[in-house]
């Protein structure tokens, strides 16, 4: 898979996995039907994936190579790919097939891995998580299917040299400096960089760019591993966050209210 360039630092083939997601900041739930109100909610590139793309573009600008954006989704996900091209991606691949519908993280990762294998890559970037599902599973699972290592929560790339990469991985209590051989899959956090805005030239390029389309046959997928049928998990029920209702409203003047509160807390031995 990797490009061969004896003697020097190689020019990297980079794939960035991006997902088109509804802007969850704008989502509301219909209190009567308990369903999502998705109407009018804009679709965006998953914010973490923009940081992944930015980092890929910076690597290419430093040492050459190629940045391919890859998405699995319905035909309209093409918009996300064109937006990525307007930021500077070289190529775009849309993995789309009705057989992919209903994929959970297992099936999504399997499908993405089959496509990556087909395309070939030295470094694969994913976002830390997608803001619709917040699972953070697709990156590591894809790496497992590819049989390559992964490093999660990258907040800085220290060096890429001679088939080797050194990064900082964000942890609970600080960070680790981690090295790996290539190929490797990295999932990134927002501290990594500041994503650029599309340039005018990029926007023109995005209009004209040809989007490569791949379906289940192009990636030689095993049908039993695709879409709903290939997904081990099922969504059983979706509901509005429930609220407990054991509240006691403390009445009176501020003086009386605060006295009442302190009395209550003393009663339950919390003061």
């Amino acid at each position: 898979m990797p490009c061969h360039n004896p003697g020097g630092n190689k020019r990297l083939n980079i794939i960035v996995c991006i997902k088109q997601v509804p802007d969850t900041a704008e989502i509301r739930i219909n209190p009567e039907t308990n369903t999502l109100m998705r109407e009018g909610v804009p679709s965006i590139i998953n914010p973490f994936d923009l940081h992944a793309l930015e980092e890929a573009l910076q690597i290419r600008e430093r040492s050459g190579g190629k940045v391919t954006v890859l998405t699995m989704g319905p035909p309209q996900a093409e918009t996300a790919l064109r937006e990525a091209i307007s930021m500077g991606a070289d190529e775009a691949v849309l993995l789309s097939d009705r057989a992919f519908a209903g994929s959970d993280t297992w099936a999504t990762s399997y499908t993405l891995a089959q496509a990556v294998r087909k395309l070939g890559a030295d470094v694969i970037f994913c976002g830390k998580q997608a803001i619709d599902g917040d699972t953070a599973q697709v990156g590591p699972e894809t790496a497992e299917f590819l049989g390559i290592p992964h490093i999660s929560y990258i907040r800085k790339i220290e060096e890429i040299k001679d088939n080797h990469i050194t990064v900082q991985r964000l942890m609970d209590e600080g960070y680790d400096v981690v090295e790996s051989s290539l190929p490797v899959l990295l999932t990134v956090v927002k501290e990594l960089n500041q994503p650029r805005m599309p340039s005018l030239k990029g926007k023109m390029a995005a209009k004209k760019a040809e989007i490569r389309k791949m379906n289940k046959d192009d990636i030689q997928a095993d049908e039993d591993c695709l879409g709903l049928k290939g997904s081990p998990t099922q969504v059983k029920r979706i509901f509005a966050p429930e609220i407990k209702a054991e509240r006691k409203i403390l009445e009176g003047t501020p003086e009386e209210q605060s006295d009442a509160l302190i009395q209550e807390l003393r009663n339950v031995k919390c003061l």
Binding site: M1, P22, T24, I27, R28, L36, D104, G120, D132, G133, D134, T135, A136, Q137, P140, E141, E144, F145, G147, I148, P149, I151, S152, T166, R169, M171, D172, E173, G174, Y175, D176, V177, V178, E179, S181, Q220, D222, D224, P232, T233, Q234, K236, R237, I238, F239, A240, P241, I243, K244, R247, K248, I249, L250, P254, S258, L261, I262, L265, C270, L271
Partner: protein
């Protein structure tokens, strides 16, 4: 099923090319590549001198596994350790796991890598029936490969029906690899776990879409049913000095690590630690209005011996740093008392503090949703109420 070349191992010797009856192997940039003509005859696997061609067999295995659902019984938790001590989330998993195991009438197993026998005994006292202890010092530090290999090994041998791990940086990083390998489902970041009375399946409940909705996820046809659990939402089990259990020592011959930690740098913010350990959290939102409001809150915090928290709105306004933020994109806390001052109670805030023992809401707007989760509500101005509370508590404590 598929046959793949591991490019990191392939030396480019071309032995496999000649062996393939279907002409399905080509050289690409000096490495072998298997194209769509592959008939899965596996000849190449046997001839490769580097062992670089592998069959991703986990995919071909899964059908046989499905027919054996009933072979999978126990509940297993992954006990994460820091410097040899079980992390708090491990004890919470034991609490949740114990409850599920009792309901199903099965055993509670724990896997503990990189720690020693006394710590394994602690896990027994916290509720485990059997602990698989791998005290190999090489497992002291987290590594995706070695942790995934160890856990996969134990799952394949013990066949638990349910596997739980913490939704921590460690759990969220390597558990997906295990699920991918075992060809089973994984539900991230669960906030509640229950057993379906009819089928005995695990109901995995988690927030989605930025906390706007909750979803119940099932994994009915594959085993084990795997979930990561958000730290600090499950209650620890009962600690029992006299509880007995088995400790099984595991030896690994080879430890595979393709990534290598060169250095670990600690950058613990004191606030984070304090928020997680605090018994009293006094949190301010947009209603706190600015620095003056937050000063009042920290005076109350001081009087109570607590810590100041905040809503995202207050953090976004720049009144207080992000490390204080509670909620979906901030911290999950469960203090004894959480006092929400000038916080409206958006779902994204609620998911981070809902499991506090007592919630007190102080808000001028009687319709604010925060009152729906409050144990005690005060409809009033925080600028009046908070100083009064501080004064009265100080008097009470004689300070």
């Amino acid at each position: 099923m598929s046959i793949v070349v591991r490019v990191d191992k392939c030396s480019g010797c071309e032995t496999c090319l000649a062996s393939c009856p279907f002409d399905a192997i080509v050289m690409k940039e000096g490495k072998a590549f298997i194209n769509e003509y592959c008939n899965y005859c596996k000849t190449c696997i046997s001839v490769c001198p580097e062992g670089a061609i592998i069959e991703t067999e986990e995919i071909s295995n899964f059908k046989s596994q499905i027919s054996n659902l009933l072979d999978y019984k126990d509940v297993l938790i992954f006990a994460e350790q820091r410097e040899g001590k079980a992390a708090p989330v491990a004890l919470e998993l034991l609490g949740a796991g114990r409850r599920l195991a009792d309901e199903l009438g099965v055993k509670l197993l724990a896997v503990l890598p990189g720690a020693d026998e006394p710590e394994a005994k602690e896990l027994v006292k916290w509720g485990a029936d059997r602990v698989y202890l791998c005290s190999d010092a090489r497992l002291r530090k987290f590594n995706d490969d070695s942790y995934a290999d160890l856990l996969t090994l134990i799952i394949n041998e013990q066949r638990p029906s349910i596997v739980l791990a913490g939704a921590t940086p460690v759990g969220r990083s390597f558990i997906p690899r295990v699920a991918a390998r075992l060809r089973t489902g994984l539900t991230a970041d669960c906030t509640s776990l229950e057993i379906d009375g009819e089928t005995g399946n695990l109901l995995q409940i988690r927030p989605a879409f930025g906390g706007n909705i909750m979803a119940t996820i099932l994994c009915p046809d594959y085993r084990p049913q795997m979930a990561t659990v958000r730290p600090r939402v499950m209650k620890r089990g009962e600690y029992n000095e006299t509880r007995t259990g088995e400790i099984v020592s595991i030896q690994l011959d080879e430890i595979r690590t393709r990534t290598n930690v060169l250095e670990t740098v600690k950058e613990v913010s004191e606030v984070s630690v304090n928020l997680h350990e605090a018994e009293y959290i006094i949190a301010g939102g947009r209603g706190a209005g600015g620095d003056k409001g937050f000063r009042l809150l920290s005076e109350l915090a001081q009087a109570l011996g607590g810590v100041v928290g905040a809503s995202r709105a207050a953090v976004d306004e720049g009144w207080i740093s992000y490390s204080h933020q509670v909620g979906q994109t901030g911290k999950t806390v469960n203090p004894k008392i959480y006092i929400a001052c000038g916080i409206s109670g958006a779902v994204q805030h609620l998911v981070g503090m809902q499991s506090s023992d007592i919630i007190i809401a102080i808000n001028t707007n009687p319709e604010a949703p925060i009152f729906n989760v409050a144990t005690y509500g005060i409809v009033g101005d925080l600028f009046e109420i908070v100083p009064l509370l501080t004064k009265k508590i100080k008097e009470l404590k004689g300070i």
